[in-house]
């Protein structure tokens, strides 16, 4: 994907080249001469399918890493105004829910979920979300896919310019009862983390009990 930004008199031209597409967008810009590109997260949740199913016995924990392709937010002026958001990778649409009546539209990510961080792409076009899953119930938990609530996550960078979000903790208390916790702040392993972009929807506290199922067995 190639992104071109051109400044003309009172105009910004933004062109995206991707697999032959050449859509051009023109933005009126009287005063702003500065433009900023920020990595941000997509505007829907991400449904990530594990490369292989995981069984989590009662009392056990599992740490997974989910990689999400970033969107590039183009801002101009001071205070910054969002001109456009460009996807770095086209993710297919998918549905996540108990049935076709109740649920939500998500983006599908079938390859970027692993228990090993080194299996995932570590570049500026991908954001890593650490997810800790703890089985507090008496039954064994079969994990096949996860829904990551990207709308509630921010983007941080570390010294190596790797991008991260807040960690997520999932607790299976009983069958079909999952509690989700968004840890405030970046992962503790990061040295000198820097906040790049804030979440699209702010959480009042670090805890969010999502009413829709977070995992699907």
């Amino acid at each position: 994907m190639v992104l071109c930004l051109d400044r003309f008199n009172h105009e910004w031209h933004i062109t995206t080249y991707r697999e032959g597409e050449q859509p051009l967008k023109t933005f009126a810009a009287q005063a702003s001469n500065e433009i900023m590109l920020k990595p941000t997260l997509p505007n829907r949740s991400l449904l990530s399918r594990l490369d292989r199913p995981f069984y989590v016995p009662s009392g056990e924990m599992l740490l997974l890493y989910i990689s999400t392709p970033v969107w590039i937010r183009i801002e101009a002026g001071n205070p910054p105004i969002v001109l456009d958001e460009v996807t770095t990778e086209t993710l297919p649409d998918t549905w996540f829910g108990k049935n076709t009546l109740e649920g939500e539209l998500c983006y599908a990510n079938n390859i970027l979920c692993s228990a090993r961080l080194e299996d995932l792409p570590r570049d500026i076009t991908h954001v890593i979300t650490p997810v800790t899953i703890e089985n507090r119930s008496k039954e064994i938990l079969l994990l096949q896919e996860l829904k990551i609530p990207l709308l509630y996550l921010s983007v941080y960078s570390d010294l190596q310019n790797h991008l991260w979000t807040e960690p997520l903790n999932l607790y299976q208390e009983a069958s079909n009862h999952v509690e989700v916790s968004v840890v405030k702040g970046p992962p503790q392993s990061l040295k000198v983390p820097q906040l790049i972009s804030t979440a699209r929807i702010g959480l009042k506290s670090g805890f969010k009990d999502l009413f829709s199922p977070f995992m699907w067995k």
Binding site: L47, T90, P92, D93, T94, W95, F96, T100, L101, G103, E104, L105, A108, N110
Partner: protein, 277 residues
């Protein structure tokens, strides 16, 4: 040209003599109150409409505006009359008597309207569809423009207004195609008996995977329907966002045809049966 006060007074006296027994000032006052009342009603209607659109559905907002309008019009008529000293209760009493007589007389004639009115109330309470939904009623597909007390108005895709009485709606089956956020698109295929169905399945799944409008979950499905007379009947089902259904329905069938032809799979033609006269 200037008019002096004595001229105005003389004009008034002449007018009063001309319309003896008719108080011109009172009439002007009543009309002014009425006009002001209507203007205020229209302003309040617009205000209520703007506020209710943010908190309720388009249909409820429309109902609130109409209720406000009719209430405002009635008050705009009654208030000026009362303020001018006319006995409104007597008017209401007379109106009540007339209404009672009329009610009996028109009861039989208004059966259909009453039925439509009651059906409208049931439809409002049940809410099988809302303004903006796409519904199919008696074979007519269109967007619901308004849900009124006597009828529902829909706009077809070729921009024709169709009015359907509420009584008909309550008695008929209708389909709401926009109630749920995702929808399944079924493509029926006839393939030759000699074709490799596994190969066809692979081709179709590939078409769905490459089409950005197809959802990953629920996954596409290929179902064997029956051994037909001249071909095998298959049904290929893919899911999509409700808003993308029309686009998907067209372009996936074109993509399927192109993919099958690219793999040298030709769709069989239904043999024509000669009719002997």
């Amino acid at each position: 040209m200037s008019i002096s006060i004595p001229d105005i007074t003389a004009l008034y006296k002449n007018s009063s003599e001309l319309f003896s027994g008719f108080d011109l000032l009172l009439a002007v006052r009543v009309v002014s109150y009425f006009v002001f009342g209507i203007a205020l009603t229209l302003y309040v209607c617009r205000l209520i409409g703007n506020i209710s659109e943010k908190h309720t559905s388009a249909h409820h907002s429309q109902l609130l505006r109409r209720l406000t309008f009719y209430t405002g019009v009635i008050l705009s008529i009654l208030f000026p009359l009362k303020a001018s000293g006319i006995d409104v209760t007597a008017l209401l009493g007379v109106a009540g008597v007339i209404a009672t007589i009329m009610t009996t007389a028109v009861a039989f004639a208004a059966q259909t309207s009453i039925s439509n009115f009651l059906s409208g109330i049931f439809l409002i309470a049940e809410k099988p569809f809302e303004v903006g939904d796409y519904v199919t009623i008696n074979g007519t597909l269109g967007e619901v423009l308004s849900i009124d007390l006597l009828s529902v108005k829909i706009r077809t895709k070729d921009n024709i207004l169709v009015r359907i009485p509420n009584e008909v709606l309550l008695k008929s089956q209708f389909n709401n195609t926009t109630r749920f956020p995702i929808r399944r698109c079924d493509v029926k295929l006839r393939v030759s008996f000699t074709e490799d169905l596994q190969r066809i399945k692979k081709i179709l799944m590939d078409v769905a995977r490459k089409n950005p409008l197809c959802l990953v979950t629920p996954p596409p499905e290929l179902n064997f329907v029956e051994f037909g007379d001249a071909a095998i009947l298959l049904q290929f089902s893919v899911w999509t966002k409700q808003t993308s259904f029309t686009s998907l329905q067209t372009n996936i069938q074109m993509e399927i045809q192109a993919a099958l032809y690219a793999h040298d799979i030709k769709l069989p033609v239904t043999p024509s049966v000669p009719v002997l006269s």
